[in-house]
Symmetry: C2
Subunit: 138 residues, 2 copies
């Protein structure tokens, strides 16, 4: 509990009750979370608050946004000390076509790509799709 407050403070996010709850929720889930997910989990809170909380988290580097190709924006906590902006910290994501969940594979960095003359890469997004470990075990 206290660790969460501290973590938020470190990132320049004021630790309100709502924000701590949302952080906790994200920490418990090991998968990427959409705004709608949070919305249903916190049906008492307002959508806008949840939306802006995620955006604040994102701006302050608490979470990173994930585009898994479903057309819905998802979010997951950043590793402590990670700098998502830096190319070396870009990990890949895996989207399961069976259970429809997306997970971070933080151990797997995106390999460096040699681009044609004139192209300058600043950011990268790699999503693999298939069957995840939980679903393939069945």
């Amino acid at each position: 509990m206290k660790e969460i407050e501290q973590r938020l403070n470190e990132n320049g996010v004021r630790p309100t009750a709502m924000r701590i709850l949302i952080y906790k929720y994200l920490a418990e889930k090991e998968v990427a979370i959409s705004l709608t997910d949070i919305e249903t989990a916190f049906s008492n809170a307002d959508r806008t608050t949840l939306f802006r909380t995620l955006k604040t988290f994102e701006k302050k580097g608490v979470v990173h946004q994930i585009d898994d190709g479903t057309g819905v924006q998802k979010y997951a906590l950043c590793e402590p000390g990670c700098n998502c902006e830096l190319e070396q910290d870009l990990h890949l994501h895996f989207h399961c076509n069976n259970c429809d969940e997306t997970v971070c594979l933080t151990e797997h960095k995106i390999p460096h790509i040699n681009l044609p003359e004139g192209f300058v890469a600043e950011d990268a997004n790699l999503v693999l799709k298939g069957i995840c470990d939980k679903c393939s075990g069945q």
Copy 2:
């Protein structure tokens, strides 16, 4: 003109006037095209027709869909003879943060990734973002 008709026939798409025009439009542009782009280019035609044309093209393997992270679905012609389903034919895409255009880098295949135990990849999507050759030259 005749080549387009033939190409569509080969892919099991009946070459109507509308479809030939859309194919031609896609062939002229060397960047990925959104439904809205086509909509503005063919303001006389109906949105639904254009939408369904793209979907038909996609299903029949005439075009492939691109998710470049902008939240808008884009499409580009498949290389003749390419099989987008197969992993070896998956190329990467580059999205320019300056001109906001997305291009296929068909020469650059997505490198193979070794996944953790239990994960089975069927598909992959790699998008690099930065400054494209046209914009970096300025």
